[in-house]
Amino acid sequence: MTSPSRTPVRLLDCAKTFPDGTRALEPTNLEIEGGATVVLLGPSGCGKTTTLRIIAGLESPDSGGRILFDDEEVTDQPIEKRNVGMVFQSYALFPNMNVEQNVAYGLKVRKTPPEELATRVGEMLDMMDIRELKDRRIEQLSGGQRQRVALARAIAVRPRILLLDEPLTALDAILRERLRVEIDALLRGLGITTVYVTHDQSEAMALGDRIVVMSHGRVTQIGTPREIYYNPANRFVADFIGTMNRITGTARDGVLTTRAGRIPWEGGDSGEIEVLFRPENASIADLDQAHLRGRIATSFFLGDRTRLMVEGIGAEPLVVETSERREFRAGEEIGLVIAPNSLLTLKD
């Protein structure tokens, strides 16, 4: 690719109400930096796909909403005028064409001269490592191969923006992992502005320069994967991304007193509070040195580590992970040390 497109995208006041009255997207402002990969993440029905389709031009925002690519307003342009590349969950490959014809379609529609078309299609086939499949019919391809063809087809037209709608959801776990790595390398290599929709948090973390967490038609938090993970803006984000443990206690004079023990407290709040922490911030300690004491409810041996559900500390059992090799029994008393700087408090 000679000139990567680093088109920034801006959504201004974009809302979407469907004819039946459902509000799929509340008025939303979103800025996507040129050349960045932004992941729209959230549970189904959170408005992420609607947002993507508004950017693509497959849905138009309610009146008042505007979409800008660079400084050009594209709000009233249909998708075929916007020069975007799109990859669908179901791939949407054309069954009446073979692999090569699928990849060439966008260029053909644009009336690209034959020699240039052939070169470009060849480049795409090589880039996605599908040259040996070029004469295959679509129904003769496996899921992973279809996804490669879909990517090649979308990139072949050198779009201003690449849009991916849950591209890995239809694949099995191993293939998903492998293609995720490939897509990541591809996007880094292309440097093209990319919007990626998924409900899978690990996919979002791995691929996104920035993650936009959405819920109920609203953006709840925008940030880098680290910001989102370490400093979730609210309980929804905290629970949706990774696992969160919660305990309640009374904070006073640098100590948080809970029903299961005391933890050093560096936070500013005092009084009755709820604090949250990630499983990896708790470690198992001798009972006499532990901050908190609880009982093992269940343990799951995962191979590289053991996941313990510890009860008697929070209202819900806490999730703790350890790489100790010993066996943990249900009912066993256990001591935990929590890294004080990992404790979070959230307002809502």
Binding site: A56, L58, M86, P95, G106, S142
Partner: protein, 270 residues
Amino acid sequence: MRRTGTFYIQLAFTLLVCAFLIVPVIMSIMAGVTVNYFYGIKSGVTLRWVFEVWDLYSETIYLSLLISLACLACTIVLGVPAAYVLARKQGRIARMVEELLTLPLAIPGLAIALALLISYGGFREFRMSWTFILVGHVLYTLPFMLRAVLAVLSSTDFRTLEEGAASLGANFWQRFFGIVIPNCRSGILAGSLMVVTLSMGEFNLTWMLHTPLTKTLPVGLADAYASMRLEIGSAYTVVFLIMIIPLLLALQFFGKPPKPRAAVAEEVGR
């Protein structure tokens, strides 16, 4: 081997089918190639009657071909876009239009013909020409084309295919002719064979709408049975069968759902 009651019931059913479906056809064909039907097949076998039919009625055969092909053209031009629109629109009006277009199937052909005569019989030129019959045939066969194409459209996610094409820069017409039409080819083909077959064999409507100068094959057949010797009528049946059987065979062949090849794909894939 012990034979159960079921066996005898099945045997009786098979024999009944033979008696009423196959035997009459064979008898008809025999009659058409017999020198003299009253003396039976021992009077000799001849193609004389078939040639006589050709001399007397070849006009009707040509007209039937013309009408069925014209009818096919009309149903494709009208039916395919209609099916596309109906598949896209989910509203109540779309369903009503679909029902309305299917209505001619439920109304006796004679009634349709009569309605056409009452409404447009006054236009002399139109009434006298074969296009008058064509209108009736299109009304009657359109639902078949529509249904066949709709079935294919609703079994594929053609909306996403269209969105994919649009994202690659294709405008409506490029999407319609480049993606939608090629991907409902099987439906159009099945519908086409149905339309041609039905149009060729249509008698009810046509009998009411025809003039002495616009006789189609089935109308000619009725004419032959009524006014010619039995051998000629039967030879006419032979001609009709020769024309219609290849169509029916093609219908069987192409009407089958495509073989599922997705299973093969996973094995081929690495």
